[in-house]
Amino acid sequence: MSFELHASAAYLASASYVWDWGSVFNKDIGHLALIGLKYTLEVCGLSFLIGSTIGMAVAGLRLSHTPPFTQIAYIYTDFFRTTPALVQLIWVFYVVPVLFGIVLSPLVSGVVALSLNAGAFFAEVFRGGIESIPRGQWDAAYVLGYRRRSTLARIILPQGLRQALPATANIFISLLKDSSLLSVIAVHEITYQAQTQAAQNFRPLELYTALAVAYFLLTYPLSLTSSWLEKRFRVH
């Protein structure tokens, strides 16, 4: 990818570049873009679901205040927040098969890596949300005779998750963008599609511009939703 881009960038320095949008907006590329979009959304949606489940479980471990579990949760979140998602992805794709003898398809590897990565962020967001609920809420429920489970399910989580909602939307945005990393292990999402097409029709400028616009159109409404949620739930 980088070589072609450098080459064309140098060539374009003359500023006499003639844009040819027809090379991008045609039936063939439209078809490939749709396939790419399907993969992008699939990867993103699955990682969001799996990641939030992992995050909820890890937040639970963190808040259990029981020695081995809390430490495990710490190690997990620290590891995945301090290493780049790209490195994690490559590690899952190339190292896991060697170590464990399991061969994962690029798509599965990608979803596993992104889910684990997002799980760490989800865990922090959920933990923060739950911890933001004042002690008095627990006290009141306890004195009313609620069981711990009911207190969590009906009092703490509904309020805590509401607090966590804007941050959750941000994680979704990050996942949408990070799914582009999967192009390096040949998952056919939109970035991969743009790269392969650019290699064939030598129109990287048009393709990558269109790609950027596509990501923008996907994420911008989400980012608006996130700030709307933030405003809506700030009142307390």
Binding site: P134, G136, Q137, D139, A140, Y142, V143, L144, G145, Y146, R147, S150, R154, I155, P158, Q159, R162, V235, H236
Partner: protein
């Protein structure tokens, strides 16, 4: 030591009578040699106290004297370090027990948990639920009422508290005084035998204190057993059967409101009352 209640004039049921299914008897609450420390700080330093059924006990004393901690121990929000708490003769906390016995006590006394209600300084209403739901949720979860039963009970109780117009509002839309009345209704709905009030008017604007105190007065008249931590000396004088003065984790003086508030014997009580009146 125990003044039998029932001699207060004009007892009538007006807010909600506890209508006990079981009577906890004269020894409703017994505290025996209670001790509690937070780190190095001793907060309760040997408390012995018996509260009779229907008695209204007001706890006064400077901040940090252990009044709130005492209530929180009775509500089991805190574990005592030593001593015992009994309700209706049954242990609910025993500081000298080993962990096994503590678990046993916790399990055996679980049904008693709903016999002790508590109202907090900062209301602690559930902000994501409506006023009505704040009351019905406990009825459904703890008293296993049907939806209709719970709703009827809640509406009736809230109406008597003067909150009929606010049933479907969020707590955040109400004034402090209204929120505190919701909190009292929520505690009362479960028909506890004992209600603990922890400085329930301290966070209120002065003009809203009266409406909460008048609900508490009616409750007292209806025969509810109440332990009230407050700085409202007028309330103590009019409503209390007995006033307890605490300082540095100990009960330094106790007596009828008239004795204790007008002719205090203990120097610390005298000092404390002076400061309150001078304000």
């Amino acid at each position: 030591m125990i003044k039998r209640p029932g001699d207060r004039a004009g007892r009538h049921v007006s807010v909600s009578s506890p209508t006990p299914e079981l009577s906890l008897g004269a020894r409703t609450i017994e505290l025996i040699g209670l001790r509690k420390s937070f780190g190095d700080k001793v907060v309760l330093d040997g408390i012995d106290l018996t509260v009779a059924e229907g008695e209204v006990l007001v706890l006064i004393g400077p901040s940090g004297s252990g009044k709130s901690t005492l209530l929180r121990c009775i509500a089991r929000l805190l574990q005592v370090d030593a001593g015992e708490i009994r309700i209706g003769g049954q242990a609910i906390q025993d500081g000298s027990a080993n962990w096994k016995r503590r678990l046993e006590i916790a399990r055996a006394s679980r049904p008693l948990r709903k016999e002790v209600g508590m109202v907090f300084q900062h209301f602690n209403l559930f902000p994501h639920k409506t006023v009505r739901q704040n009351v019905t949720m406990g009825l459904r979860l703890v008293r296993q009422m049907t939806r209709d039963e719970a709703d009827r009970t809640a509406v009736e109780l809230l109406t008597r508290m003067g909150l009929a117009d606010h049933l479907d509002k969020q707590p955040g839309q109400l004034s402090g005084g209204q929120q505190q009345r919701v909190a009292i209704a929520r505690a009362l709905a479960l028909r506890p035998h004992v209600l603990l009030f922890d400085e329930v008017t301290s966070a209120l604007d002065p003009e809203l204190v009266g409406e909460v105190l008048s609900v508490m007065r009616e409750l007292a008249v209806s025969g509810m057993t109440m332990l009230v931590v407050t700085h409202e000396m007028g309330f103590a004088r009019d409503v209390a059967d007995r006033v307890i003065m605490m300082d540095e984790g100990r009960i330094v003086e106790e007596g009828s409101p008239e004795e204790l508030l007008t002719r205090p014997k203990n120097a610390r009580t005298q000092q404390f009352l002076h400061r309150i009146v001078d304000r």
